[in-house]
Every structure is written in C-alpha cells, then in structure tokens.
C-alpha cells in the first residue's frame, strides 16, 4: 500500500515538474502584447504601399477588397492581359480543358485560351467553416496539378490573431500558406485536412509564398519564413502527405536571403515596409524548375539595387536538399519579380512576372525563357 502511494506520488511530482516547460509556453502565448514599432525614416521608398501611412499603424488596403471566395458576388468580363493589375501572377496551362488559368495575389482566377483575352475575375475557393473564412485577401495564389487533382496554394493572413511579437520591430499575425483541393482547375478549392483550424506550418511562424514541388514522388511545400519575423528571410521546405492535406516533416532551411549578393538590406537601401523601419533581407516567391539538361534551379524574389528583383539559385546535388548556390546577378532586376514559369500548349516556356513602373500598379508581364542549357536564360518580352 505504501509503495503504491509512493510510486503514484513520485509519478505525480515528476509529471508536475516536467510539465513546467509546457505551461511556460502556454503562458507566453497568453502574455503576447503588441510591441512598439519603429517608423520609417523620412523619404523612404514605400514597399507594400504607395503612400507612407501613419507610423506604427497597419496601413489600410489600397482598395476595398473583394475576396476570392466563391461566396462573393462579382461581375465577370473579358479584358486584355495588359489591362490587368496583379502582383505575383501565376499561370497554369491546363491540358484537360486546354485553358490557361491566371491567379496571383488577391486570389481570383482569370481564364484564357490565347493568353491575350482573359475572362474574370472568378472566385476560387470555399473556406466556409475554416479559420480562413472571412479573410478578404490572399497572397501569391498558385494552381498546381498533382496526381490528377488540382491544388490551390495561397497565403492567408488573419489580422485578428497575434502569434508572435518581435520586440521593437513587428507584431506577427497568423499567416500561413494553405493548400486547398479541387477536381477542376477552376475550383472551387476546399481544405482537405479534417481540422478546420489546420496550419501547414508551426502556428507562430509568419509563412508566405508556399509553392508545390514534387521530387521522386514526394510532394514538398517550398515556402518563405518572412524576414519581418526573422530579419534575414529564409527559404525552407516541408514534406507533404500524398494527398497534400498535411505536413509530414519538420521544416528544413535551404538558404537565407543574405546568402545571395542580389538582395540589399532594406533600410540601407531606403525601402520602408508598411510605413515601418524594418531592417533586413527579403525572401519572396520561390518557383522550382528543371532545365532540359536536368539541373534543378529556383527562381525567388527580393529587393535590391533597382527595387524588386528576381534571383536564381541552383542545387548542386540536383535535389531539393541542395546545397543551393546563388547566382551573382539578378535574373531580372528593374522592379520586376515574383516570376512563375509555365509552358504554353505550343510548348513554349514562359515566365509570368509582375513589374511596377514608377509607383504605378504592379502589372503582369510575359517573358520568353530558354531552359535548353544548364542555366535558365531570359529571352525577350512575349507579346500575345
């Protein structure tokens, strides 16, 4: 009898002390208090907003945003490619429907059969009943076809939930790249994971621009952990389950923004971010590709000498694990970036990428790209 009491007591006491660290973590979450932020120096260029906002505040979106949810009412029309304003444009050439699907930041879908005339915008997803319901803006949407299913990867930010505080720098709100599934390229895309509150990556991380890449039958999400949280932005991957509904590995870091000579430090380069002085280096918009000679490369974007730019890295091993060697020069560097590759139904490899002229809106452009050698070579502007 005494022995039983002894043991249970010991177990109890031990459990108490072991659980202390867990409790401490819960407490920290409860105690998150927004930090003071530092206003940008006068005269800074305004990434993320055309006009400087009041210092220390989160700026209002540029326009009243209608979300890309299929529940929204919207007017569809057919417009020319040149008249579309969009950041982070992504085009899927869908063999099944012989249709091009254009999406990007904002998340709505446009359809075209000739890359010139585009019908849209159409709603893309149905997130009712999940944590994403009611979010009216998604960033860097992409549509991938994997094993006969269509997957919509987009970054959802929930401004209501503070997940991390970087003292005297940045209040991190919940931000995750989520993968939604559909049988059709046009959607509607829905969360496959049974947990309506699911995060693909640790809840407290600021994750954007996740893309889908498959190597030897294994699907990966390659994503950005934002420099606002990490100072020196990172490119990382996680392995996904066969149906892409969940993450099945820990994140693996591939490189940091500062490892490439192309990105410049933001404050030193005179760039403000949301009106704030946020020093650091940006990683954005990964896109993996293989050249015709079998070399594995990655396009990714950052900020440098002429503002937004596109970097290239190559994997020495030819696998996602790298090591990743950064090219010395930008792929494009004149306030153009976040480019994504696709092949036309005629077999031509094109890059869809946004460019901003002055403070003007970001507009998608198409460029020809040559992948016949060991390195991707930028061709001429492609005019439809």
């Amino acid at each position: 009898m005494t022995r039983i009491i002894n043991i249970s007591l010991a177990v109890f006491c031990f459990t108490m002390s072991v659980s202390l660290s867990g409790e401490a973590q819960t407490e920290v979450k409860k105690q998150l208090v927004p930090t003071v932020t530092i206003p940008a120096p006068p005269g800074s260029k305004g990434f993320g907003m055309p006009q400087p906002g009041k210092s220390g505040t989160i700026p209002a979106p540029r326009m009243i945003r209608v979300s890309a949810s299929v529940t929204e009412q919207r007017q569809n029309k057919t417009i020319l490619f040149d008249s579309i304003s969009m950041s982070d444009p992504y085009i899927l050439a869908d063999d099944a429907t012989k249709t091009y699907y254009l999406t990007g930041s904002g998340g709505c879908i446009y359809k075209s059969t000739d890359l010139k005339n585009w019908a849209g915008p159409y709603g893309a997803y149905d997130t009712r009943g999940t944590w994403m319901e009611g979010i009216n803006f998604v960033a860097a949407a992409e549509i991938h076809k994997v094993n006969g299913k269509y997957y919509y990867a987009a970054s959802f930010g929930d401004r209501k939930e503070l997940v991390d505080v970087v003292p005297r720098r940045y209040n991190v709100y919940r931000h995750q790249t989520m993968i939604l599934e559909s049988d059709k390229a046009e959607g509607p895309f829905k969360l496959k994971n049974p947990d309506p509150n699911y995060d693909y990556l640790p809840h407290h991380l600021d994750i954007i621009d996740g893309t889908i890449y498959t190597e030897k039958g294994q699907a990966y999400m390659v994503f950005v952990n934002e420099w606002m949280q990490t100072f020196d932005g990172t490119m990382e991957y996680v392995k996904l389950s066969p149906d892409l509904s969940k993450t099945i590995s820990e994140p693996v870091m591939l490189f940091r923004a500062s490892e490439s000579p192309c990105p410049l430090e933001m404050v030193g380069n005179g760039e403000m971010t949301y009106g704030l002085k946020l020093p650091g280096w940006v990683t954005d918009g990964p896109e993996l590709f293989r050249t015709k000679t079998g070399k594995l490369g990655m396009l990714w974007a950052s900020w440098g000498a002429k503002r937004y730019l596109e970097c290239v890295a190559y994997s020495q091993s030819g696998t996602i694990d790298g090591p990743w060697i950064q090219e010395e020069k930008p792929f494009i560097g004149d306030n153009t970036g976040h480019g994504m590759l696709f092949r036309t139904f005629e077999g031509k490899l094109l890059l869809s990428i946004h460019h901003a002229e002055g403070e003007g809106p970001r507009k998608p452009q198409l460029w020809e790209v040559d992948d016949s050698g060991d390195k991707l070579v930028l061709g001429k502007r492609y005019i439809q």
């Binding site: 009898m1 007591l9 530092i38 490189f255 490892e259």
Partner: protein, 384 residues
C-alpha cells in the same frame, strides 16, 4: 499503518522535491534535454580571404570556426604606463577610500594606479572554483560598489555548450554576464551564487556586456542580447533581487542596434565576425550615466562607417524604461569604443575607451567629458 503512510508520504514528497524541484537538478535536467536536441549546424558563409574580421585574425581560406582562445602564460606583475597596456573594453573603478584606481576589462585581470599614469598589475582577482565558468575566458569585466560589497560583473563564454543553432548563421555558445562578490575591490571575487550551473539571465539568451545600474532602490542589470543570435542586437534590462542573486522579472528590450543611424550593418560595411560573413547590427558595452542636469543617458557601442564606434541614447522619461532616443551621430567613430566613464578623485569626469590603430592591438585611452548640460560632450584626450 496510517502513521507509516503519512511518514512515507512526507519522505516521498521531500525526496521528489529534492529530485525534481531543486533548481540545480532541474537546470541539469533541462540542459541535458537541450543538449540532446541541439546539434551544431551550418553557419553563415566564411569570410573572404583578407576580409576585415572582428573578433579574430584576418581569415585564411576555409576559415569559419569560432574557436575558444588557447590558455595564455601567466603574466608577470609589473608597473607600466597606461599606453603600454593592451586591453579591450577597459573599465576603471576609482576607490575613494583607498585612493586607488582599479582598471579591469576583457581578460578580467586587475591593474592598480594612484595617478592613472603608472599601473601595477595584472592581478588575478577571481576564484570561480566549482562553477561552469571556472577556467573560461571573461570579457568586459566591471567592478561596482553597492552597499558594503564589491561586485564584479563579467561575461563568460562556454564554447562547449550550445544554446541554440540559428540555422545557416551561427552555433550560439553559452554566454552570460554573471556577478561575483568580494569585500574588497582587489578581490578575491567569488560567485555570488555558488550553484555550479547558475545563470543570471535566461539560459537560452546569448547575453554579454552586462552592467549594473540603480534606480529607485532597484538594481538592474543592463545588458546586450547578442546580434549573433538575433541578427539585430538589442539592449535590455532585468531587475535584480535586493541581494543581486537572481532576476525578479524577465528582460525588457530597450532598443535595437538598427534604431541608431550610426550603427551599420556588418556585411554592408565588409566586417566579418569570427571568420563568418554574418549579417546584422551589433549592440555592445552599455553604461548608464546621469548628467548634472539630471538627464539619464546610456553609452553603447556598435560598428559604423569607420569600424568600431560609440554613441549615446537618452531616456526621455528619465527612467530606465525610456523611451530611449538615439543620437544621430556616434560621438566616437574612429575604431574606438566600449568606453566607460568614471570620476577622478579630483572630481574630473573621464572616459576610458579602447582604440585600435590600423591592425594593432586594442589599447585604452583616456578622454575628458563634460556632463554639465543636458547632453554629454566629449572633450580632449587626457594625458595623466
């Protein structure tokens, strides 16, 4: 039977308390856990051959490891002029009672002088037997007189204990500013807390250059959270218990290095660190002061246009809580820094700072300072 149960109950509680709640044991357990999980990882890219390299010699090809310093032969006690002493981070404690100036700093040895001109030393004045610091190198030692005791604040580095792997950046060793105590400024200083594993700050923080500051009957440790771990280094404080044996609250961040315009990004100014191209902003060597008009300020150091530099921040509230406003320019920017103020027995305010001429060693220099107005003013070089 009942009595036996009760007795054993008490005994079990005591035993389990001793096993699980004893701080020493708990810390040891935590450390074992931490050690198990932490593996050194790839660090920031190696410095270019011949690149300027803080904290180490000019790197050769393939460099990139932060090695602990080899033990040095025991120096002979001599009496020498100030300009023949090589020392980083010099600090002078003027002892009014004995009418002796005590000089210490990185390396932690003690020199004595009655006229600031001729110095007798170096004396070994610390006894760290039975602690994790025993035999390790000490940086930025200071001597403070609080109550009827003398306290020695120094930073010890244990390169054999990893506290964090910051991926693709830095394997962070255990670094803590700790307090030793003695009845005399000449020591021998012994650990204030005898516990072998004791750390004054959070164990997973890379803490250096802690100094002591009193405000409204509370003694604070003001310290640096190293940029090597957090990229944009911070200045922080934690209140200490009356007997200075432990912190009574978790640290508060006062400012970041990048908030001062004079503090430059290390890779941008071409400054490698321990042989690595580690990007970021440095905070170093805080010292609090009050001007004759009652303004509260802080001297601190970083790297700027001309290598090492020192600047000032002022607290607009007059309290340690700030807000802290940075002076635009460094007051000293010629590869000098980590300077500390003291008052001579004649009442003159002086500043001792290390300076590097070319690739030469760091040597202490004395300057006059004027604290009669709202702002501290650097005067001319002082030659005792």
């Amino acid at each position: 039977m009942k009595k036996i149960i009760r007795l054993s109950f008490v005994a079990v509680c005591i035993v389990t308390w001793a096993l699980t709640c004893n701080p020493k044991q708990t810390i040891a357990q935590n450390q074992i856990q931490v050690k198990k999980q932490l593996v050194p990882g790839e660090q920031a890219p190696p410095a270019n051959p011949g690149q300027r390299n803080f904290g180490g010699p000019i790197p050769s090809v393939g460099a990139g490891m932060n090695k602990p310093r080899p033990p040095r032969p025991e120096p002979k006690i001599r009496t020498v002029p100030l300009d023949s002493i090589s020392m980083s981070d010099p600090y002078i404690y003027p002892d009014e009672k004995k009418h002796i100036y005590y000089l210490t700093g990185t390396g932690g040895r003690l020199y004595k002088s009655i006229d600031l001109k001729m110095w007798n030393g170096p004396y070994l004045i610390i006894d760290l037997a039975g602690t994790w610091m025993d035999g390790l190198f000490v940086a930025a030692a200071e001597i403070h007189h609080i109550g009827n005791k003398f306290y020695y604040a120094g930073t010890w580095s244990d390169h054999g204990t990893l506290i964090e792997n910051v991926p693709r950046r830095y394997n962070v060793p255990l670094n803590q500013t700790q307090l030793l105590v003695a009845d005399s400024p000449e020591g021998p200083f012994k650990p204030l807390v005898a516990d072998h594993d004791f750390c004054l700050g959070p164990e997973d923080w890379d803490i250096i250059d802690g100094t002591l500051y009193e405000e409204n009957d509370t003694t604070y440790m003001v310290f640096v959270h190293e940029w090597t771990q957090i990229i944009d280094g911070t200045m922080a404080y934690m209140p200490l218990s009356k007997d200075l044996t432990h912190r009574t609250a978790e640290p508060t961040t006062i400012f970041r290095a990048s908030e001062a315009a004079w503090s430059k990004e290390m890779n941008t100014i071409g400054e490698a660190t321990f042989g690595l191209k580690m990007p970021g902003w440095v905070t170093d060597g805080p010292q609090m002061f009050r001007t004759k008009t009652g303004k509260l300020g802080m001297l601190w150091s970083s790297w700027g246009e001309h290598r090492y530099a020192e600047g000032i921040a002022y607290s607009t509230s007059g309290s340690i809580k700030g807000p802290w406003v940075q002076e635009k320019e460094a007051f000293k920017g010629d590869n000098s820094g980590h300077g500390m103020l003291f008052t001579t027995f004649e009442g003159k305010l002086l500043y001792i700072v290390h300076h590097v001429e070319g690739d030469g060693p760091r040597k202490p220099q004395l300057y006059e300072f004027d604290d009669s107005g709202d702002k501290l003013l650097l005067g001319s070089r002082y030659n005792p």
